[in-house]
């Protein structure tokens, strides 16, 4: 991984080692962040769109390009391609992250709604806007500064094999992001998986809203919770009504990021046999990749998750009177 020094004074071995290690660590962080976001490209696209960073492109295309860029840069640094231009690119990326986190923090501190975006690490890491700002500032900036230590004054030609590996890796990340929604990775890519306590699934700091805030009864008994999109009700409302009407099934609760007016309109239009509660998008968005998504809660703990509705075949028990 070393650079061939063609000219100029060679830095000390220790400095070079520190610089390489820091660059590799920074590359690893960027790569992990890229994979985390690639697992749910739609959420990342929504985040870019919300922050006005799509540069006029369709949000998903912008998200795939951003993933290729971030992942490619991460691979470059991880594979030891430590050049002034790669560090300048990394600096621009890190500054962008820090500025965006700072902006989210400032908005949250001034009463803006909780950001529903997935953040730099997708849904894998749950951080408050302030924590995200300070952690990124401390971790990424220090790694970035250290990565410049021991930088040779002038490097030789680019290593073709490593560059080819970076190209292949970036393409693989884009492919992963493209196919990820079809892969059974919901439990990995979201904050919702068997074993977690619903009281600890929260968003925001002041006020802090948790699943048990919008559905206090989840702490007792068994309940199927289905996350839904009211605009897409034609695709799930009847089936969920049938399931919730079947005797013997646990009670069903639907959660949607919707206004009270939307909930009211849905209720009169579709006649749900289940309670429908609205919840902040910031609470719900990290819990799914595609809607509907369901999970079974037993005494406050998630015991099962499903992509889709609680039961595909729910053909009996329709209220007919």
């Amino acid at each position: 991984m070393g650079e061939a020094v063609a000219a100029g004074r060679s830095p000390g071995a220790t400095k070079t080692w520190i610089g390489r290690a820091a660059a590799a660590a920074l590359g690893l962080v960027l790569l992990v962040a890229t994979v985390a976001k690639a697992l749910d490209p739609q959420a990342f696209a929504e985040m870019l769109q919300g922050q006005g960073l799509t540069l006029g492109l369709p949000p998903l295309v912008a998200a795939l390009l951003a993933l290729a860029l971030e992942g490619g840069l991460g691979l470059l640094l991880l594979l030891g391609v430590r050049r002034p231009w790669s560090l300048v690119a990394a600096t621009l990326l890190v500054v962008t992250f820090v500025v965006l986190n700072g902006w989210d923090w400032w908005r949250a501190a001034h009463g803006a709604a909780m950001p529903a975006g997935c953040g730099c690490f997708g849904n894998l890491v749950q951080r408050s806007p302030a924590a995200a700002f300070w952690q990124d500032l401390a971790l990424l900036l220090s790694l970035l500064l250290l990565a410049r230590v021991g930088l040779p004054p002038r490097a030789a030609s680019l290593p073709p094999r490593r560059l080819a590996a970076v190209g292949v890796g970036a393409a693989a990340l884009v492919l992963l992001a493209w196919r990820a929604p079809e892969l059974p990775l919901d439990d990995v890519a979201t904050r919702l998986r068997p074993g977690i306590e619903v009281a600890k699934v929260c968003a925001g700091t002041t006020p802090r809203v948790c699943l048990t805030t919008v559905a206090p009864d989840l702490v007792r008994g068994r309940t199927w919770v289905t996350l839904v999109d009211l605009e897409d009700a034609a695709h799930w409302a009847d089936a969920l009504n049938r399931f919730s009407s079947q005797s013997g099934n646990p009670p069903v609760l639907a959660l949607a990021a919707a206004s009270p007016a939307d909930v009211s309109a849905f209720t009169w239009q579709w006649g749900p046999s289940f309670p429908l509660h609205d919840a902040p998008a910031a609470l719900l968005r990290p819990l799914y990749r595609r809607l509907p998504r369901s999970f079974l809660v037993e005494d406050g703990r998630v015991v099962r998750t499903l992509s889709g509705l609680p039961a595909a075949d729910a053909s009996r028990g329709e209220p007919t009177r």
């Binding site: 009463g111 009281a199 929260c202 925001g204 002041t206 006020p207 802090r208 809203v209 948790c210 048990t212 805030t213 919008v214 559905a215 206090p216 702490v219 009504n241 009407s245 009270p260 007016a261 909930v263 009211s264 309109a265 209720t267 009169w268 239009q269 579709w270 006649g271 749900p272 046999s273 289940f274 309670p275 509660h277 609205d278 209220p319 007919t320 009177r321």
Partner: protein
């Protein structure tokens, strides 16, 4: 026996004859089970009924999720019961004798109720229009409860609050602990009558207020509009979510309760009072 001594049994028989049909209905109501679907109706407090353009305040509204969010409308001023079934957009009527009220405040339609079609309903924004006893009727959402109110105003405004309040049982140990407070405590709860989280949590606070009656802890409720960020009092107090409770000991704010903390309001209040510096107690 004197004529006077005959009068009493005759009166009793006459009274029995008059009350017999009512008694028979009660017995019948008790014997006939609730309908398998049209049951478990709970008070629906955020709508009111207008018939012929005039509000009928005494009318009771109930909704049942089990019945596909069907709504029952009945009460003084109406001859029968009107049933609105959202999935079919259908309006039906039934006899008042086929509706049974339960002790817990829920309502069931009896299994032998005959449902008579009475047209359909239309959704116009947040208003539901239909015909009731030949007159144009509308279910309209109530205006939001705004400004400062005692708890009883909330109970009067929305029947859901009192129904849900009865379902919550505060911890007796925590209530007892709160009753030991000697210095007056005032809790101003900023809420929105439009807010679903408030409909979940505010009934718990109202139930707790009832349990703490006679203590030094008092509650007041401040209703906010949907865009409460611009409401002067909310702005002055820095309210960024509802419901938010501002706890005062004397005139000094000693803490706030928000979000998840409302799940057990008595615990949240106790924590704040315990964490208050002794000088302010």
């Amino acid at each position: 026996m004197s004529p006077r001594s005959y009068r009493q049994p005759v009166l009793i028989l006459l009274a029995a004859a008059l009350l017999a049909p009512l008694g028979a209905h009660c017995v019948q109501a008790q014997m006939i089970p609730a309908d398998a679907v049209l049951r478990d109706f709970e008070p629906l407090g955020d709508y009111y009924l207008e018939v012929g353009g005039a509000r009928i305040p005494e009318v009771e509204l109930f909704r049942s999720e089990k019945a596909g969010s069907a709504v029952l409308v009945f009460g003084p001023g109406l001859r029968g019961v009107t049933l609105l079934q959202p999935r079919a957009h259908a309006v039906q009527t039934l006899s008042m004798t086929k509706v049974a009220k339960r002790a817990d405040g829920r309502v069931d339609v009896l299994a032998d109720a005959v449902l008579t079609p009475a047209g359909d309903f239309t959704i116009d924004g947040r208003e539901i229009s239909f015909t009731i006893e030949g007159k144009a009727a509308r279910l309209r959402e109530k205006p939001y409860l705004l400004g400062l109110h005692p708890g009883r105003d909330l109970l009067l405004h929305d029947a859901t609050y009192s129904f849900r309040a009865k379902l919550y049982q505060p911890s007796p140990a925590l209530v007892n602990a709160l009753r030991q407070a000697t210095k007056p405590v005032r809790i101003r709860v900023f809420f929105g009558s439009w807010c679903p989280h408030c409909q979940q949590m505010v009934p718990r606070i109202l139930r707790l207020e009832d349990a703490l009656a006679g203590s030094t802890i008092h509650f007041e409720f401040y209703g906010l509009p949907t865009l409460y960020g611009e409401e002067p009092e909310a702005k002055r107090m820095g309210i960024d979510g509802v419901p938010t409770g501002v706890v005062y000991r004397g005139n000094r704010e000693v803490g706030r309760i928000a979000g998840e903390e409302w799940s057990i309001p008595e615990l949240a209040i106790k924590k704040i009072l315990e964490n208050t510096p002794k000088s302010s107690r």
